[in-house]
Symmetry: C2
Subunit: 269 residues, 2 copies
């Protein structure tokens, strides 16, 4: 929790204001309600040696891993997403993977930064949820889960597709959610699955997943709810674990990078 | 020209039938009217050494270079696009670049194939033109041109954005063309420019371009025509020339790879 969290209203902040609080580690909490309307990004940082295979993995798996930006090796400034942001300090919390294990979850990565690191920013469903909210759609969220669907492999990289799960009470709302998320292909686009969670290997819907902590435990959907599953930006973290990659940094779940661009700037319609 | 061209009706053929004629070098002409409704792809083949920079170049320039598929190094079989196609023989005509110069334009690349070559298939506007035609839209085409707009560079790769140019008589048709091409993001998506050709450095609209030969000379648009410019798959060829890359193979202009998939299978809406 941020030290002064009670005084902070992140929803109405501009991205540069919010990122300043993050940089100063005044805000170390999740970004789900930060900077309404602005695009947020998942992040994966890897040694240059792995960059081609990972880029191809993202290209082959655009639902979980839509590419917003890729920096040059060693460059901590994602200029296409923000004029003044610094990758090393501007996310509330990070995860450090070594040989596929989480060895640290720091609030900055200044001590882990290296000149051979390439940063991938991947679109985040938070971005299209602003649009759902603007359309007066309501939904219930269950957090993120590994599935039994395998991603399309690319070189070194392989692993399970992870999804974020939401349920809708009416077919109108479910249809609108498909339409609206289809306008945001760079933010995961339309659902990858509609149906029962056990069909794709999810048996604990509503329970926090071991590597996606901090989610509230919620009741499972009711019988007539329409349950839909979107590609999720924690997929690279599942891939890090699966491949035992020697070194990789990601955002901490739900602690994304807030860009200077409105989500609608990235929409395809 | 194909040896038996007068007897061949490529428009009504299935892709595997058409590709067989291409493979046997019975058909060596352009593919613009081949296999109605099926997706066609532009192609760029590069040594693995250049693959990361080129993949990133495509990711950063999705309008001219939308990625349909990338093969592993040395693999001549693009299985995600066809169960039985062979990259080395299944395009009517190729271009071989050495140090940025066209040194050969063969009908197969069996003699140029190497184990370190990675093949990139890029979406082609031919694919969304089937959809325009299905919607009873008419247009006039002027071929492809280099512009003064620079692509977003990536590592080794930089160069001018190339465009294919079409004019429309009515705002209804122009609007429908934007809507329909926006449904086909993997086939160049919506136009990159609307307006006068000289605004983006095109002074010879309707005249065949030196590296995009074989186009008919057509009259320039009339004053009230709406002229629109789409990202074009010959951009990698302009980039090959600009960067003087030691070795690269591409399709010959308008001689694309015909995939087994209908263009609509790739549409985003």
């Amino acid at each position: 929790m941020g030290k002064n969290k009670q005084k902070i209203d992140p929803l109405s902040m501009k991205p540069h204001e919010f990122r300043r609080l993050v940089r100063e580690e005044v805000w170390t909490d999740i970004t789900m309600e930060a900077c309404q309307g602005y695009a947020q990004a998942n992040m994966a940082i890897l040694p240059k040696k792995y960059a081609y295979d990972f880029l191809l993995f993202c290209v082959r798996n655009p639902r979980p891993c839509p590419i917003l930006a890729v920096t040059d090796a060693g460059d901590p400034f994602p200029k296409s997403l923000s004029t003044e942001a610094d990758i090393r300090t501007d996310l509330p919390k990070y995860r450090i993977f070594e040989n596929g294990e989480i060895i640290d979850e720091p609030n900055n990565i200044k001590n882990y930064w290296r000149d051979d690191l390439v940063t991938f920013f991947l679109g985040c469903s938070r971005s299209f949820l602003w649009a759902l909210r603007s359309a007066n759609i309501t939904w219930k969220r269950y957090g993120a889960y590994k599935t039994t669907i395998e991603c399309e492999p690319a070189g070194f990289f392989h692993g399970p597709l992870c999804v974020s799960v939401r349920s809708f009470k009416t077919s109108h709302e479910a249809t609108r959610a498909i339409q609206i998320s289809s306008r945001h292909l760079l933010m995961h686009g339309p659902p990858v699955y509609i149906g029962k969670p056990e069909d794709i290997g999810i048996y604990n819907l509503g329970q926090p997943d071991s590597f996606n902590p901090g989610r509230p435990i919620v009741e499972p959907p009711e019988e007539n709810d329409i349950v839909m599953y979107w590609g999720c930006g924690i997929t690279p973290q599942a891939v890090a674990i699966e491949t035992k990659i020697p070194f990789m940094i990601t955002h901490y779940p739900a602690s994304m990078f807030v860009t200077d661009h409105l989500a609608e700037e990235f929409s395809n319609l």
